[in-house]
Symmetry: C2
């Protein structure tokens, strides 16, 4: 038996054929071309699937990783920000009719969680949190071996955990994700602060993005370090809440911002250590970087098909 995996992204689509052990046997990719419209993208998804379909072996099903929000129970893509004309697209149903096998749809952070549990840093864990720090802040959460989805599949929006900032409510990802780092850096540069970021960006503010701030922090630039450290502390606060709520055995950190490394992760860990109410939460807790590389979404999408982690129909 084989499993087909699809990773639908804003810039490219990837598809793969995997065996039941979730080993990638063959992979293909193509640009998404979202500007050509939904029908063109759907056609490319179908062509890619066909191109990796095994000629003489049965296919168990198709797993699809997609940006959220989406309905994992009904297999509907709701309104992904980087696929503008995709509103309530019943992707699982369309592919089921076309290929006559079961199709399951998962949001990218949930799919990455499944991959890390199947083959990565959280292998074999039953209580796990996957945190992705990127343009937004997302998560997949495994509770006693089952993915947390919620009533209509909208659960685990960790980036929308609420903070107070000078008595004004704000959301974690508005303060601590990539665009926030870039915005804060530009504001403080515009106010005249000294920083390596000036020369690193050739004085061009548009080049000041989260990656550049991260590089400046790694080189010890005080402004960049202050911004990255504050983001780390806020993420640490949210993570402390998550430990108190979920009491996991492992937290896996992924996403582009995690590559900043210690300037971001040290303040995060310090807040967790200081604020946790009972050492039972951290005694045997592992906090680790994501272990899987470029195939994470393909492996995770295929894992959606395995019954032990699969998306159950809602009662």
């Amino acid at each position: 038996m084989r499993i087909i995996a699809v990773d639908l992204g804003g810039t490219r689509i990837r598809a793969a054929c995997l065996d039941e052990g979730l080993n990638v046997l063959q992979r293909r990719e193509t640009p998404t071309g979202a500007s050509e419209g939904k029908a063109a993208v759907l056609g490319r998804i179908e062509d890619l699937i066909t191109s990796v379909w095994p000629p003489e072996i049965d296919v168990l099903g198709i797993g699809v990783s997609s940006p959220g929000p989406l309905d994992p129970y009904l297999g509907i893509v709701l309104a992904p920000p980087n696929l503008p004309d995709w509103q309530r697209v019943p992707l699982a149903g369309l592919l089921e009719r076309r290929f006559a096998v079961p199709v399951r749809l998962g949001k990218d952070a949930n799919v990455a969680l499944l991959a890390e549990v199947a083959q990565g840093a959280a292998r074999g864990c039953r209580h796990a949190i996957y945190l992705t720090l990127s343009t937004g802040i997302g998560a997949g959460i495994l509770c006693d071996g089952r993915m947390l989805l919620g009533r209509s599949g909208l659960a685990t929006e960790v980036g929308s955990m609420m903070l107070l900032e000078n008595d004004v409510a704000t959301r974690l990802e508005l303060e601590a994700a990539g665009p926030a780092l870039a915005r804060q850096a530009r504001l403080r540069l515009a106010a005249g602060e000294k920083s390596l970021l000036r020369e690193m960006s050739d004085g061009d503010m548009r080049q000041v993005d989260a990656a550049l701030v991260g590089q400046a922090a790694q080189r010890g630039d005080p402004l960049a370090l202050a911004l990255v450290s504050r983001a780390g502390r806020l993420i640490g606060l949210a993570l402390t809440s998550l430990l108190h709520l979920f009491n996991p055995e492992i937290v896996v950190i992924g996403g582009g911002l995690s590559q900043i490394g210690e300037p971001l992760l040290r303040p995060m860990r310090e807040v967790v250590r200081r604020e946790v109410i009972y050492e039972g939460y951290t005694r045997e807790l592992r906090i680790e970087l994501a272990a899987l590389g470029v195939d994470v979404s393909l492996v995770g999408a295929a894992a959606l098909l395995r019954s032990d982690y699969g998306v159950r129909k809602q009662d």
Copy 2:
């Protein structure tokens, strides 16, 4: 078949005999007498159980509601604040040896959740949050029909969700539970603010507790209203995070502070409505007061024995 339920509290112990439909057939209670020490309390628990034990019908098991923290997997009471010499007491094991039936132990908020799901406001729900607002702020959370416990049973400590207050980290229950309301009221009275609380307490600061602040708010006292409203807003922020994390179908609000009613609950609901990122979280959400009265802990403790909600052994 019958089920025996025990509600171990700081001031009294209650026990009951229930049928399998979780109807209370007989109940007894006695003062806890915690100051007489652990052995005396254990003896009273055993005597109470014996006094409600059915003479001629088999007993399925004993369910015990206890203050946390506790280990629901091993049935161990860890360190309840109002039972001072109870440190790591293997209560389930002790009762299993004495009565030769299965014994399950649950923390009070989880037990109340099970009762509300079995017979109360959340009847039949699979995605439910029970929030108790009292001396602390606690919760029981049902994820797709199963109680969220975490790796070692320390999950759902909602009172320890983190907030920022003027850039200083603090915990929800330190700002919004009963003792915080009393403390804030005393501080502002001591600073000379006008308030009905002065005459309601006969000028005796020690009488200013959360219940009195709640009564003053219900009578329209501006100081009490301001404090209660702020607590409601902070609880609303945490509840918004919980909706984003769990996407439940119902939130049941219980605990002594919930009796303050609209002065507390209206600001809470307003924050939820304003801050939720997508109306899918609130579209069919019910936020309701707890429906069960004095027997909630007994019904919930008995529900611990039912396999569909029971505490599973950790793998």
